[in-house]
């Protein structure tokens, strides 16, 4: 199992990220292939969210470079990378509360994805259908519950028509049934040709989607490979449950 990441579509090489004296990414190299689904796990403070932010352009790297489809995008900001096809969801969804669900998605399609007119409109409708949000299209985002906020976060990302989707803990706090629906949506995204990079603490959910798993600890990648092999790697278990937990 696991598609080899030949011809990485998005990659970071020798990435460093420092906040003052604190090193959050310490020489991290990471790549995702076209249409590949990769999961990232690791205990709190491992640098997972920071890695996604550096890949998406939300945070500048302190060292190393990011390449997308072979081109160096290290100095491109998040909006430029969004237009190129790199999109990221946030751990805590922050929709425009006063706008409707449709308007939120439309802003993403136009401002984030650079689409216009009928194409943008049709794209939004398609995305709302995929995320099972057509029925809520005219609701103000601030009235949404947690599941719908997560769906809207995903819809906003999809409306930019991305090539690579970076998901930051989109499954947290959902019920079992809601999680099944989320997994269905993410598999459909992959079927449509998107590459997925997914950070999730709920490992058994992650394993239903990803073909490759990366484990980060203290700013470094300590394991990268077939998901079940990574989860049974003693170094990975130690990272969560303390050394010598064997």
């Amino acid at each position: 199992m696991g598609r080899p990441p030949t011809g990485a579509i998005l990659s970071g090489a020798g990435l460093h990220k420092r906040f003052g004296a604190l090193t959050v990414l310490d020489d991290v190299s990471f790549s995702v292939g076209a249409e590949e689904a990769v999961g990232i796990v690791g205990p709190n403070g491992a640098g997972k969210t920071t890695l996604l932010s550096v890949l998406a352009g939300g945070l500048p790297a302190s060292g190393g470079n990011v390449r997308f489809r072979g081109a160096d995008v290290t100095s491109a900001d998040a909006s430029e990378r969004s237009r190129l096809g790199i999109a990221k969801t946030h751990q805590v969804p922050r929709p425009f509360g006063g706008l409707t669900v449709f308007e939120n998605v439309y802003v993403a399609a136009t401002a984030g994805g650079g689409h216009r007119g009928a194409k943008a409109y049709r794209g939004c409708m398609d995305v709302l259908e995929l995320c099972d949000m057509l029925g809520a299209a005219n609701r103000r985002a601030e009235t949404l519950g947690l599941l719908d906020r997560k769906r809207l976060e995903l819809a906003r990302v999809l409306a930019t028509d991305p090539v690579v989707v970076l998901l930051d803990e989109i499954g947290g706090g959902l019920t079992d049934e809601e999680t099944v629906a989320l997994v269905g949506t993410i598999r459909e995204m992959q079927r449509r040709g998107m590459a997925i990079v997914w950070i999730e603490h709920i490992v058994h959910v992650l394993l239903q989607v990803v073909e490759r798993l990366v484990c980060m600890v203290a700013g470094r990648v300590i394991a990268d490979g077939e998901p079940r092999a990574v989860m049974s790697d003693p170094a990975v278990v130690d990272a969560y449950l303390g050394s010598g937990a064997r």
Partner: protein, 241 residues
């Protein structure tokens, strides 16, 4: 009658439900290790038991009385003490002042200022230092000492080792040996599994707000806990891909 009885407890953080229909009972003298990944609901459960976070459904009984809607300080007066994640000392007060705050609860018992200092000798020379200037280990010792000075019947310890150097963790646990072996009743959230297993009489593992494993520490294997912790067995049952 159990000392603590939690029945179908739901606890929410706004839109997020962190604890889902959790039920368990704790007997006097049990040392319960509460394990689980980030976001499993461990700290929220402890905070709900302590009265720091109001549950949205279910009930908590302590020593036979329903304390579900009792304010936190009244639960302290009844004998529930929480050592919160992040220690939460009063940074502008000295170590001794922090400890004396707890003594105002006026629950007398084994624990006195002197006995706490004896338990954590590292606090002796820091007695008059501002809590805000302490090292992580000293802070944790002061926070545990503060909880002990309420002479609790149930001590809730959240993330004892978090952010501390291994040598400091070793020192803290060594100090707590007498406490742990002396028949105290406590619930311990500890990320280091071996550490938790070495002191606990019982292990309870949470996953996504629910209890997925509960049993005597002696009967627990590493594999059993790791599977429950990551929910891997469930993934297998669900039939992957």
């Amino acid at each position: 009658m159990s000392l603590l009885s939690v029945d179908r407890l739901d606890v929410r953080h706004g839109l997020l439900q962190a604890v889902r229909e959790v039920s368990f009972a704790l007997e006097e003298g049990e040392v319960l290790a509460l394990v689980g990944a980030n976001g499993a609901g461990k700290s929220t459960l402890l905070r709900a038991i302590a009265g720091a976070h109001q549950p949205s459904a279910g009930s908590i009984a302590f020593d036979g009385a329903d304390v579900t809607s009792m304010r936190a300080h009244k639960r302290v007066a009844r004998g529930i003490a929480l050592v919160p994640e992040g220690r939460r000392l009063f940074g502008d007060m000295s170590v001794e002042e922090n400890l004396r705050v707890a003594m105002r609860v006026d629950r007398r018992g084994h624990w006195t200022l002197d006995r706490v200092m004896e338990l954590f000798p590292m606090l002796i020379e820091r007695r008059n230092s501002l809590a805000g200037n302490l090292s992580g280990g000293e802070r944790q010792a002061a926070a545990i000492g503060r909880a002990l000075l309420t002479n609790p019947r149930l001590l809730l310890l959240d993330e004892v080792s978090l952010g501390l150097a291994p040598v400091v963790v070793e020192q803290l646990y060594k100090s707590m040996t007498s406490l742990l072996e002396g028949g105290a009743t406590l619930i311990l959230v500890e990320q280091e599994l071996n550490r938790a297993l070495s002191v606990a009489t019982r292990v309870l593992c949470m996953l996504e707000g629910k209890i997925v494993l509960d049993g005597p520490a002696k009967a627990m294997s590493r594999e059993l806990i790791v599977d429950a912790y990551f929910g891997l067995r469930r993934a297998a049952v669900q039939g992957l891909r």
